[in-house]
Amino acid sequence: MSVSDSDLIARVVGRDDRAAFGELVHRHQSAVRRFLRHLNGGDAAQADDLAQDTFVQAYRGLPLYRGEGQFATWLFGIAHNHYRNQRRRDRRGTNLTAASEFETAAPPTRAVELSQDLRQALNQLSPDEQTAVHLFYQQGLTHPEIAAIVGWPLGTVKTHLARAKERLRSLLRAWNPQI
């Protein structure tokens, strides 16, 4: 039976058990790196640097973690803070795209077409709508969790998701008259 996140966290906080922290990183690295790649417009190297900083900061801040929400949600909050700080420093105004999410797999032709259409459709959404879609569908977070991470009111999260979905539906339909 695998050890729960809270047990691993207790080991890290109580005994500075680095192997336990390594297990936490291993469990959550994919979600955090994908989230940061999404925010960084697919820049994998920069996203991984930010992800590394996120985990190092999480390690330092673990005694502050109250365990009231999911550990992954707490990590997303740190990652989002890191991304905002880096963006503030860069002042480059990185465009948000969800490209990386759809470039990793090598599915069959029809799935590739669908993936390309979906990617293009997602790129038509506003950055906030893309982030809402990413966190809800790809990361499986709830509306309140998304609101907590990005600092939007709950209604804004729901509005972004509803608008994004409506827009995606209409774009995919427009590109294929059969829909």
Binding site: G22, V56, G61, E68, G69, I78, N81, E101
Partner: protein, 121 residues
């Protein structure tokens, strides 16, 4: 824009497509890189108070062994305290210390997780 051969997708299908789009990333040594980047392990607690305490005791022994009286020590301490608390030193020092603390915390705020709500799906 080139259209693909999509069949009509009800909402449930659109949801499924969006959920399936995020393939998990392999670790590829990422966890090891994070562990290597962690700060050095903290010193055992007894060292953090034991070393200064030992130094203080050695210093006290040395001073007493060289014939200095308690009155001399008290006088020296008063002189040091007066110098350190002089407005010309204390105020700029406090301002610099506050600025350093503020700057070091400004970019690295760590959420405590209290805002994160348990899943309510």
């Amino acid at each position: 824009m080139e259209s693909s051969n999509l069949t009509p997708q009800p909402d449930a299908n659109l949801d499924a497509i969006l959920r399936a789009a995020g393939a998990p990333l392999a670790d590829d040594g990422f966890s090891q890189r994070v562990l290597a980047a962690l700060p050095a392990p903290a010193l055992p607690r007894w060292i953090t108070w034991g070393v200064p305490m030992t130094g203080a005791l050695i210093g006290l022994g040395w001073v007493l062994n060289h014939g200095a009286s308690v009155a001399d020590g008290t006088k020296a301490l008063q002189t040091l305290t007066a110098a350190a608390t002089a407005p010309g030193i204390l105020i700029p020092g406090a301002v610099i210390l506050a600025a350093v603390v503020w700057l070091s915390n400004a970019d690295d705020a760590i959420p405590d997780g209290s805002a994160a709500v348990p899943p309510a799906r």
